[in-house]
Structures are given as C-alpha cells and as structure tokens.
Amino acid sequence: MIMLTDKEIIEKLVKLGIKVINDLKKGENPALNIPLRSLSNVYYDENTGLIKLKDSFQERYYFNIGQSKKFMQTILIADRIKWLVEQNKTLSIRQLFYTLKHTIPGFKENTFDTQDESDPIIEDIEVLIDVLRENLNLFASSKGVLAGPITIIDSGDEIDLSKLGSAGYGVPGIVEPDVVKFKDCNAEYILVVEKDAVWARLNEDKYWKKNNCLLLTGKGQPSRAERRILKRMHTELKLPVYIFTDMDPWGYYIYSVYKQGSINLAYFSEKSGVPKAKFLGFKMSDVKNYNMPQDSFIKMGDQDYKRLKELSKYAWFQTKEWQKELKELKKFGNKIEQDALVMKGIEFAAKEYLPTKIENKDWI
C-alpha cells in the first residue's frame, strides 16, 4: 500500500460517492467493487513470506435485497471517514459506530445495530480505497502490553519501558511514527507470548531484564496495533522475534498471524508481518524434551481437530517442519497450554525453558 496524503484520501472517498450518484442518474444499479477478504482471495507470497490479497472483487449493489443495507452503511462510513480526515480528528472504531448508529427516520430500524456491522465495513473501505485504517484516523482499542529496555516517545511523552512495574506499557491503538517513536533500545531480541498471564509471570520474574529482551503480548489473537509495533521494532531496531504460544491449532495460528499476516487483513500483512519470526514453542518435541507431566495434557475436541485440518492446508504451513508438527499433534491428540509450564516449577519458563530454547535455537 502506498502512503497517501489526507487530500488524496478525501479525493478517493468523494470519487466513490460521485460514481454512485452517476449510476443512479443513469438508472443503473450502483455497485461498489470491494476486494474480497476471504481465504479464496488470498495467496501466500513465498518471496516475501507474507499472506497477500489476490484481485477478486465482490460487487456490492444497492438494488439488491441482501446488500442494500450494507451498501447504505458503506456510504455512511465513507462519509464519516471523510469528515474525520478533514477535521483531522481520531476516533476509535467503537466511537465511529456510535456516531453513525441512529434510527432511520420513519422506520423501526437502526442504521447500525452492533459494532459487528460497522467493523468489517471499515475494512471494506480500507481495501476499497487502498488506504490503511491507521491513516484514516481510526483505531481500535488495543490490548497488547510491552516491557523491556527501551525508551519510547509516545505523542511527545518519553516513556522508559523498563520502569513500568507490573502492568507494562499499553500499546496504543495507532502506533504509526507520528504517534510512537523509538528512542534508546538495548534489547537483543523480542519475545512475543500468546497469553497475558504468561507475560505477567515473565515480567514478574524480570525475564526481560535478565535476558535483555523486549517482552510483548497481544493477549490472544493480536489486534492490529501489536502486530504493527512488532513489525516496526523488528525492522527499525533490527531485533529478532521469537514467539511462544500454546501447543494447539489456535496457538499455531496466532504465531502465523504475527509472522505471515491474517487472511482477513491480508492487505495489512506488508505493514505487520514478520516473516523472520521464529516459533519457540510450545511444540511437540518439547513434550518429551521437557518431560511434561501427563496431567498437563488436555484432550483435543472436534473443533480443535477441524481447525488443525484447516491449518494443515494453509499454504504458509506447507513446510516440512510444520507439516511434521501438525501431524504429530494430531497423533498426540492432546493440547498443552503455555501456562502448564508452571507445573515444572514456577520459574521454569523464565529460568530454564525459554533461555535454553533460544540458546539451542530450538525453534521452527
């Protein structure tokens, strides 16, 4: 994606509206050509190691019962975004939803009922005009947390991330250079953990201090801000990235989102993907190597197997190592949460598991 000026963004949005009016004038059915954001319209670019968007479109018509409302909603959001950019104001996607939600005059129906309706349309507009949400003055409330030997300038305030106690630095919704700048950093690598609880455990043990690294979590499936800041730290600070998740299909996928990007936001991969990220674990070989107790095993359910099957078909999981890992997991039939490491001792992860794995380059 190209970086556009505000003026160019506004022009693109206005053009969208003009086209609709012209279609109406001709008595035609106005349509919006929205690039599809589904598995069928993404491909894995082996050269870059990223998931990218193909060029299939979905036509969204106004004179179509199933699409009419969505069409109206799309134009409503386009109009509101234009206003935001003009005013140079920033809104969260939830706030945007509230500025647009109202009853349609004369009907017992709302323009939007839930945020679930407006969020995907924002993504539609991103691909429609080829501009990232972050440039449209929209952000999502992020949940990620970061700690480590780094100083950040956030909206002009200097923050030392090694002095933020047990909570750490909350990653803001927009982490573009105009908001977040990196100052001093002594870290040697970045460790990303799937879960908040594991992050808190490691933070309490001052893992990042002892191992001189940055410690990040996206609290489960990461939102855009965590992925974006990871990418920036990785490229701008030239730090390797290690990812530590649960041993189950969901954990594997979270790793892949950090690394190659997600299907739904394939157009965002370039801005967020870290193709060189390594998967530390928890993985099948660890079960034996670290002699995990039987009690830590959780039986896989139908949903797990289904997701595992899907995963094994994704192009970006088609490496020998990953196919082996997935096959073994299927055979094993159990999952292990990263939290389970405490069964081996409360500081086991910080003092033994992670350092040895990194030292031995025991990753995928």
């Binding site: 206005v14 609709v20 109406l24 019962i65 134009i75 109009d79 009907f107």
Partner: protein, 646 residues
C-alpha cells in the same frame, strides 16, 4: 308337535314391534341422541321438507313452461296469435317461479319461562312455569297449581289452604307472598334457563292436502321419497323418517302434540292439526283439527314442535350455522331466522335462478353390486334379459345389451328371474368390462360452482374464492357428482372450516367418519402453499373448504345421515375436485406472495434511500434535494408503477 319345545317358549316373547316403537328406543339413529343435536335435527328435518316442498312448485311450473315451449316449437308460424299467447304464458310462469322461490322462516322460541322459587335462606321451594300457550304452572313445596293466563306479570291464587300473591319486579323476578295456615312467607322466583323450546318452520311451498297431513307428519317411513335400490331421484330426505321422527321426539320429551298448519291455495282455508303419534301402531293420533285464520300466506305449511333441547346461540353445531350453510347450498332460497331472544337474521338469496329439477333415473350398470343385480333380476317385470338390460338400466341400448349378453354367453330371450347366481355373476362381470356411457346428468342437481362462489363471497367476503363442479360419476350403479370450493382470507377466522353438504343439506355431525373429511385430510396441502402439520389432516389458515356430494342415493354411514361412506371412487372424485380448487388457491397465494415480495423489496430500497441520499450529498458536497431527486427518478425508472403506487 305338542308345542313344548324351548323354541315355543321363546316364541311367546317374540313379537313384532312397531317402527315407531323401534325408533323410540333408537333415537340416536335419527340424530336425536343429544339435547343439542335434537333441536338441530328437528330444524333440519323441517327445513329439508320445506325446501323440497317449495321446489316441487318450482319444478311443476318449469314443466308447464317447458310444455308451452315445446308447443311453440311445433307451430309453423312462430309469430301467430297462438305463439304470442304461449310466450306470454311462459313469461308469466317465469315471474311466478321467482315469486315461489323458497322463503322459509325458522323461529326458535322458549316454550316456557321457568323460575326457581327460593326462600330467605336461599333454599329451593318450588318452580313457576310461564308458558306461551298460557297454561302456567306453579309448584310450591308439594303443591302444584295450574292456572291459565296469557301475559303474566302478577297473579293471585287462592285455595282453601293457601293464598299466593306474585308480582314481577323490575329485575324480572317474581316476588311472592305465600300464606298457608295463616303463616306468611316471602319468596323470590328467579328465571332459570329453559330446556323446552318450540321449533317453528314455515314455508311458502304448495301446502298439503288436509287429509294427508296426519300421515305425512305422524307416520314413520311414509312419503314419496322412499325409493327402491337401483335408481331413483336426488332429494334431501331419502327414507321419509325425518319429520315424523322430530314429531315423535317432541312427543316423547314433552308429551305435547305437534301443530301443523297448511294452506294449498288462496281460495282454500288454512287447516291446522294438533297431532301425536301412536307409537304402537305407527299411526297418527289427531288431538285437534280446525281452521287457522292467522295463517296469512297464500299457500304454504308451518309446523311447530315443542321439545326438550339445548339451544346453542353460536358455533359450528348451532342452528344459526346450519341455516347459514343451508342458504349457501340453496342460493335461491331466502331463509329468515328468529332466535329465542327475538333477534332476526335473514339469509338472502343470491340468485333468482331456480334450481335444476333432478330427474328420476334408472340404475347405471357400472359399479352395481351382485346383491343388487340379483334382486333387480328377481323383481323385474321385464320378460327377457334383453329388455331387462335396456329398460331397467340407463345408458344400455339394444346393441350394448346384445354385446353384454353375448359376452356373458347367455340367451337374450331368457327370463331375468330364472338366471342362476353364476349367470348373474357372469352378467355383472361382462357389464363391468363393457364400455358404457356415463350416467345422464339430468338426474343430478348440483348447487353450481358460480352460485357457490357468490354465496361464499356473500358470507365470508374472502380475498380469494374458487369452486369446481365435477362431471358426474358412478358408484354402485348410482350416479353422483362432487362440487368443491375453497375460500381464503377475508372474514374467515384463523381456523380452518370444513363445510360438508350432501344433496344440498349441510352435514353438521359425524365429521370424523366422513369421506369428505378423509379426502381433505389425505391431501398434502403443503404442496399448495398451505401449512398442514405432518402433511395430514386439515390445512391451517384462514380457509374454508366446501364439499358437496349430490346423488340419487347418497351413501351415508348411518340413518342419522351425517357422514358419507368412503367409497374409493367417491374419495377419488372429492380429491380431484379439491386439488383443482387447491391449484387455483396455490396460484393465487403464490402470485400474492410474489407481489408482496416485490413490494417488500421496493420498500427496502426506499427505506435506506433517505440515509443513502443524505450521506451521498455530504460525501460529494452535492445538494441534498438534487441527490434525492436523482434517487427518486432512479427508483421510478427501475420499478415504475410498483414504486409509484406502493
């Protein structure tokens, strides 16, 4: 034989019982098995008779008109004086027919007002019966005092032992002072619901010759309608039990005679009878006879029967409903109903077209059963098999008859009564395998689908109605014809109505065991855009289904004539008729659904257009009014009238 066997002993207690006595013990067979049904059956029998009687006049007039018409056809000069005269006669007859179309008045009134006497402690002490005929009775404790007076608002009764003073207060109760042995007590008498009604049915039919009246009303199985198997004529009653059974029922429950008055022409006096039935001898017992000067019609008959019964003011089994349905089946009849409260309802005629006269027919050979054929062979007066076939059956000509006889390897000259059972069987087999024309339709008088549609429209104002009259068919040698109709929406309630008719008479009972119900239930209505749980039973929705079977001999399942027997061919015909109607309904419903969908679609586009217009105008900076105009023009261009007239 010395007559000492057990059989002889038994023979002493074996005696014939009179028909009347038999029915006295088997009321249910005639439809008098419950108080609700009893009053309805009484009305039904009387109304059937009245409609039949009125039709007799119409048919006679039609026959006369036909005679004149034929005479005109024979004349060489169609404009001669004679022809003109005949034409005038015909047009007068036509006017007269309209004048004599059935005009029936049904009145149900309480035979008596009943009051319950209670004392101060609310203990029941007696009753008062104030009767329409003025023969009032008051009972207090163990005393029963009769007193005759019309219009009783207060009365005094005196005897050696007691005095009674009664006066009505403004609540309609009697306040009573009862003095006995110098002791004075005060009572209140409150009105209770009565169980005694007088059913009165009056028609403008031809009237009945006075001598015939007692027999017609008081002799069971008497009348012109009783027919032998193997042919006949379509009529409402079939056995001639009906009205006399109603008289008998009244007599059994109230002990009161039936009142019948009839007048046969403006010149003759109206003659009345008060009649009872001698149940042992099945013969009328005349209680009183005289002239009724209050009978104002030029001709016609009225019967009044007092009976015990329960009157329903509404519902599927009510008299109101019965009359309403009767008026649907007889669109040329005007029926006036006056209920016990005095409320008058008139079911107007929707047509002045007189009904078609059903002609007497001989048996149609198809579907006849072996027993029937055997009996016909035995009873016929024809001397040869050939003439038996050609003359006792319809639709068999000489060549057909010869063909059948030849195939059955019989001698055309042999006497029918001399056929052996095997020969009769062979004959029947060949008859059935031979192609024979369908029975003549002139023996059947359907309601006519156009008339049904008119009636259903008048009664329910449905949004859709369709009806079909099938071609006649044959079961057991009997011609029959099915008509069906479906009405949808409008005033119909959200509860499926099944309206059953047999020979223009509504069937109010026996729904479960009726071929019509079975045929309706067997159809998969879901195929016709209606809901039906499990694909069986009645369809659901604002729908009325009407089925009429008319036949020379309607196959009822019992003497109470409430349900049609399920002959396969009858079931098949009903289903075909229903399917035809259902297809029409389906087309309508689907068209309506499509139109609704179309409207819904346009409404969706219109609904979102206000928002869209506003957002577009803000987004592009174009004038809102201008964008609105563009939107409206686009909608008009795309959806035209559907948008403009939405």
């Amino acid at each position: 034989m010395d007559g000492n066997t057990i059989a002889h002993e038994l023979a002493k207690s074996q005696k014939s019982i009179s028909v009347a006595e038999f029915f006295e013990k088997n009321r249910h067979l005639l439809g008098f098995d419950s108080p609700i049904k009893a009053i309805l059956t009484c009305v039904k029998e009387a109304v059937d008779n009245s409609l039949d009687a009125s039709e007799e006049v119409i048919f006679e007039l039609k026959r006369r008109a036909l005679k004149y018409y034929k005479e005109i056809q024979k004349l060489k000069d169609k404009n001669s004086e004679r022809a003109k005269k005949l034409k005038e006669k015909i047009s007068n007859l036509k006017k007269e027919i309209i004048h004599v179309l059935p005009d029936i008045e049904v009145r149900i009134s309480e035979a008596q007002e009943e009051f319950r006497i209670v004392d101060k402690s609310n203990t029941r002490r007696g009753t008062i019966s104030i009767r329409k005929d003025g023969k009032n009775i008051i009972r207090i404790d163990d005393k029963e005092i009769k007193f005759e007076r019309q219009r009783v608002s207060n009365f005094k009764l005196k005897d050696k032992e007691f005095e009674i003073f009664a006066s009505k207060n403004n609540k309609g109760e009697y306040e009573i002072e009862y003095i006995v042995n110098d002791l004075k007590e005060k009572f209140i008498a409150k009105k209770t619901t009565t169980t005694r009604y007088i059913v009165s049915v009056q028609d403008n039919g031809p009237g009945i010759v006075p001598e015939q009246i007692p027999k017609i009303f008081c002799k069971l199985l008497y009348g012109s309608k009783f027919q032998s198997l193997g042919g006949g004529k379509q009529s409402r009653g079939q056995q001639g039990i009906g009205i006399s059974a109603a008289v008998l029922y009244g007599q059994l429950t109230t002990g009161r005679p039936a009142y019948v008055v009839s007048k046969i022409s403006p010149r003759d006096p109206a003659v009345y009878y008060k009649l009872l039935i001698d149940t042992l001898n099945n013969s009328p017992e005349i209680i009183e006879k005289g002239f009724d000067d209050d009978f104002t019609l030029e001709h016609g008959t009225r019967i009044e029967i007092e009976l015990e019964g329960t009157y329903l003011s509404s519902g599927e089994k009510s008299i109101f409903e019965f009359l309403r349905l009767t008026s649907i089946a007889n669109p040329y009849a005007k029926i006036t109903f006056i209920d016990p409260t005095g409320k008058k309802t008139i079911f107007q005629r929707t047509t002045e077209k007189p009904p078609k006269e059903p002609l007497k027919v001989k048996a149609h050979p198809h579907g006849i059963e072996i027993g029937t054929l055997q009996r016909m062979c035995k009873n016929t007066d024809k001397r040869s098999l050939l003439s038996f076939l050609t003359q006792d059956f319809s639709r068999i000509g000489a060549s057909k008859a010869k063909e059948i006889i030849k195939k059955a390897k019989l001698n055309p000259k042999m006497k029918p009564s001399e056929l052996t059972r095997a020969q009769v069987e062979a004959l029947l087999k060949k008859i059935q395998s031979t192609n024979i024309m369908k029975p003549p339709t002139d023996c059947l008088s359907p309601i006519d689908h156009d008339a049904i549609i008119k009636e259903l429209k008048a009664e329910f104002e449905p949004e859709f109605v369709t009806a079909v009259t099938r071609e006649p068919e044959v079961y057991r040698g009997m011609p029959f014809q099915i008509e069906a109709a479906i009405a949808y929406g409008g005033n119909l309630k959200d509860e499926t109505r099944l309206i059953r008719f047999a020979n223009k008479v509504p069937l109010m009972y026996g729904r479960g065991g009726c071929a019509i119900t079975k045929a309706v239930s067997d159809l998969d209505w879901r195929r016709y855009s209606l809901s039906q749980s499990g694909g069986r039973g009645l369809p659901q929705g604002k729908i009325a289904i009407l089925v009429h079977i008319c036949s020379v001999w309607v196959p009822f399942t019992s003497e109470s004539k409430s349900a049609i027997a399920s002959y396969p061919i009858i079931l098949k015909e009903i289903k075909l008729a229903l399917q035809e109607c259902a297809r029409q309904l389906n087309n309508y419903l689907r068209r309506r659904h499509r139109e609704q969908r179309k409207k819904q679609r346009i409404n969706i586009f219109v609904k979102y257009s206000t928002e869209l217009v506003l957002a577009l105008s803000r987004l592009t900076g174009k004038n809102e009014k201008e964008v609105e105009k563009i939107m409206k023009e686009c909608l008009t261009k795309r959806y035209g009238d559907d948008y403009v007239n939405r």
